[in-house]
Symmetry: C2
DNA sequence: GTATTGTATATTGTATCCAATTTTAGAATC
DNA sequence: GATTCTAAAATTGGATACAATATACAATAC
């Protein structure tokens, strides 16, 4: 085969493209809590009928990013501080276990990639990138755990609190602290200390939760 | 208000009814791994068009109960023993923490209800009920935790391994052992020993996982 | 006989249309 | 002027019609 081929059956459907676009808009904060999502408007914007739009909205609802009521339509879901706190606790339960299981299988390449994320994270000037780089960093380290289901659940949880995470990173110390802690986690991984990495990860998460709560109250 | 009223705006849509029916069929084992789910067939069976059927299939896919490919259709998802094991570990992470947080808020009514589940569980002769009663028992105890998100994730996880759970309960010792351990958990809750309840729950789950793995290999 | 290509059928994805329900604006009443 | 009823507009849920793709099988070439 002389042709540079690829699996075109993997082409995204209209519904998938719309889902991704709206999800991104919510995570970026372009769509905020309570914003109504009219099927007709979205369909016009994407130049499609309402059918794939409905499909996208259904998926968004399953992800918890929007809530919808019969005959009333969908709005961007809100997340109270209490709910966000619960999701932080969910993370604090999952992530230490994931990294503990990942450390024994971490290749030098993985740690290299994680370190690169760290570096890019420290260097990035656009606050909009911080959230993405942060998530990529953690995801890279977690991949060798083999805990696909855990990571899937974690990913959904991260989507849910994404706006809060970005807010937390925007806090004056949030960004520096995260970077410092990331480096410590990478160090623990490099020296194969699984339990240490797990502890640091747990503190990393609970620390972010705490600083967010403190900021949100005032 | 003398009338037994309910929120009729909460009436289920056709899609929801279809979702519930197919979900139940999968959990009961009436639909097994790889079984194709044709939109047209399902639509005919429920006397609706394919639109609500597609909606139901989307939800089932998000729940991980089916997998679907563009233009190829959906089939009932399979779950390897490895994947099932991971979900047991997911449970072993979540449930102890949930019950630990629930114990301090457990009312006598809750414990009564849980004990009733236990009793019904021990008395039920139809193996088909065991799985349901088992889940109801745990759900009852977990409710006071206030960890709605955790419980939502747990519920999806339980759906995913439901057939395995039923198989495990069918093992000669599975049912008796579960019942014995349930009673111990209730006891710990009654005496307010949150950590003990958590430990027992963890062992309850890991024990089930282990007995299932042992059975499945041979 | 085997491999390739064309064709028919089945199935899913999307568009368009109709029905059910909610929301809104205005008229009627007090 | 405020409130309640009413009708129309807006919006979503579902049905039908059509387009895109996959699968199975016949037709053809070698």
């Amino acid at each position: 085969m002389k042709i540079q081929a690829y699996d075109i059956s993997r082409q995204a459907s209209a519904a998938t493209l719309i889902f991704d676009a709206i999800r991104q808009a919510i995570l970026n904060g372009d769509l905020t809590q309570g914003e109504p999502l009219r099927q007709e408007d979205i369909a016009r914007a994407f130049n499609v009928s309402r059918v794939p739009v409905r499909e996208a909205l259904l998926k968004l609802e399953q992800h918890g990013l929007i809530t919808s009521q019969r005959y009333k339509g969908a709005v961007v879901a809100g997340l109270s501080l209490e709910e966000a706190n619960e999701i932080f606790e969910f993370r604090a339960l999952l992530e230490p276990e994931i990294i503990r299981r990942a450390v024994p299988h971490m290749s030098p390449e993985i740690m290299e990639a994680a370190a690169n994320c760290c570096e890019a994270f420290g260097r990035a000037d656009d606050p909009m990138q911080w959230g993405d780089l942060n998530r990529r960093f953690h995801k890279t380290l977690y991949a060798p755990s083999g805990l696909a289901y855990h990571m899937e659940m974690l990913d959904k949880a991260m989507d849910r609190i994404d706006p809060y995470l970005r807010a937390q990173l925007l806090l004056s110390e949030g960004m520096q602290r995260a970077n410092r802690e990331h480096l410590m986690i990478v160090d623990a991984c490099k020296s194969g200390k699984a339990d240490t990495a797990a502890d640091l990860t747990r503190q990393h998460i609970l620390g972010a939760q705490e600083s967010l709560s403190r900021y949100w109250k005032k």
